[in-house]
């Protein structure tokens, strides 16, 4: 039997310890600054945007959050098991009457709460700036954006914890964390490579000639999935940039996007438990 109280005890400890992690504090400050400044500049000052059609603002905020949220999540999670196993802290905890499942879920919740605090700080202050400069027409879209960002944080946390419970040592889990982080970053480039490799040309790209798989393949990247979901939440169906337009295909409806993200969250977590359970501490 899994005891919620044990999960809560671990979550509380993880939160108290990691909310004071200097890297997390630093990244949160950077996150808050970027969001607030961007909301002000893109939202209010250019005069192009309104909250009803805040494409520029949304794209800017997506860019910031899909870089920093995975980074914060990976920093929080990559050594939570491998590092503690190496230092000996986990050794003490597991000598207490607690199950490994409870430790794992407690870590996920406690660290997830740290990310949630960072996100609320950034988006909360950013939201106030947007509301003051442009208005509150897209309020619910913005709330969905915040929730999707928290979810993105949890997905990366789940991936980071999975790496951490697989790797024997802290140093190897750093490598795994970097790999996961860059996958989100370079996915677009990889996709472009495949696109051109499949015989499409620059002209095809500019004139909006895409095969279905081009867009549908976002299911392979949690960051891109989250970005597409945010666009859907704001009612954005066509993306216009650099003089060409592309529309988000029907297939990528909100339920499909959410379901794919849930899979990205659940599978690493199940694997994390499997590795953790098998592990000799």
């Amino acid at each position: 039997m899994i005891k919620p109280k044990s999960i809560y005890i671990v979550a509380k400890k993880e939160f108290l310890d990691n909310i004071r992690n200097k890297w997390v504090i630093l990244l949160t400050i950077l996150f808050v600054l970027l969001i607030v400044v961007f909301s002000y500049v893109a939202g209010g000052q250019t005069g192009e945007d309104t909250f009803g059609n805040m494409q520029n603002t949304v794209f800017g905020l997506i860019g910031i959050s899909s870089l920093l949220i995975p980074l914060i999540a990976i920093i929080l999670g990559f050594s939570t098991i491998s590092g503690e196993a190496e230092s000996g802290a986990l050794y003490v905890v597991l000598s207490y009457p607690i199950k490994r499942m409870e430790v794992l879920l407690g870590k996920l919740l406690g660290l997830g709460l740290v990310i949630t605090v960072s996100i609320f700080l950034g988006f909360g202050l950013g939201g106030i700036v947007i509301a003051l400069t442009v208005g509150t027409q897209s309020f619910w879209g913005y709330i969905a954006f915040i929730l999707l960002s928290i979810f993105l944080g949890f997905i990366y946390l789940s991936l980071a914890i999975c790496i951490s419970s697989y790797c024997k040592r802290r140093i190897t889990s750093i490598g795994g964390g970097i790999l996961v982080f860059f996958w989100g970053m370079i996915y677009g480039t990889v996709l472009m490579g495949i696109y051109f490799g499949a015989g499409y040309s620059m002209n095809d790209l500019m004139s909006g000639n895409y095969p279905d798989w081009f867009f549908n393949s976002v299911v392979f990247s949690p960051t891109d999935l989250s970005q597409t979901a945010v666009q859907r939440a704001f009612g954005v169906t066509t993306i216009s940039a650099a003089g060409f337009e592309m529309s988000i295909p029907e297939f990528l409806s909100m339920p499909v996007l959410l379901l794919s993200q849930i899979i990205w969250f659940v599978i690493p977590l199940v694997l994390a438990y499997y590795f953790f359970k098998k592990r000799d501490i």
């Binding site: 108290l16 802290a89 050794y91 597991l94 207490y96 009457p97």
Partner: protein, 351 residues
Amino acid sequence: MTSKTVMCPKCKQQFTIVGNPGAKVALTCPKCNLIGSFAFPCVKADDGYFCIEIKNLTKRYKDVKAVDNLSFNVRKGEIFGFLGPNGAGKTTTIKALLGLIHINNGSIKINNMDIYKDGIKIKKEIGFLPERISFYDNLTPVQTLNFFCELKGVDKSIVPSLVKDVGLEDAMNRKVGTFSKGMVQLLGVAQALIGNPSIYILDEPTAGLDARWVKIVRDKIKMLKERGATVIFSSHILSEVEALCDRVAIINKGKLIAEDTVTNLSRYLHMKPRLEITIKGLNGKVPGVISNLQGIDTAEAKGDTLFITCEPQIRAKVISSLEAAGFIIDNIKTIEPSLEDTFIKLIEGDN
């Protein structure tokens, strides 16, 4: 205590040994001096007689057998020493005791419950101090101990007195990340005491502490015994084990070499006190009167000092023969055999 007739595997000499049921005793063959360990026929223990029962424990890491078919028992209320050179498998055994590793074979019972089945129940009764301890850098000692109290379901109001008990009251509001190694170890001691467990498992409890705190920790271990707790601790400091333990298990290369009381171990190994006699003008030669004397095991001369091991009852004869032969004795010292000597002899015999 029961007795048993055994046969030396080398010279086939038969002799009788005395020991406790289920124990493994170490001894030397009286004829050929082979050092070996002989198990008593396993007598079924009364329920509740043993607090910790390890049976045929084997743990392999890839090709290496860290623990190899290890069996021993710890009785309720005793201080049990767990001794062995580095890499002997002590920490692996302790990890298995807590159910933290997946063992290849064997069973571990604590208070008659299987650690791999009833771990949660058993761990409520255990206080554990690992050899290499670490906590959470950004928490204060109070927050750290609060966390462990909650995990054990113990009232947090004991935390301030626990912190004071181990002398960390001045560092109460500092982050553990700023602590020295010794301070972290003391916090570890405090953590192990939470909830007054009835069983303590301590892995090198005094490693890294300065002399003052070593004494405090040792006194604490004695105090735990007085309260009726069972303590099993590993150590490489033999004098510590000798001073504190009721019984010891000695392991080497993952195998049990001996399990017995400290006094029995020395006795079975025929460890005799050694005489150190200083004689002016000895010049590194063993006097003829000594070589001719009956009952002398070894006699060795280095400079002006003569080292003799012999039966205690002929010590007086040694002195009088030397004096009769005209030697002028400056000084006599008797060195009792220590567990260290026993230990070295056992390990050497095993290798």
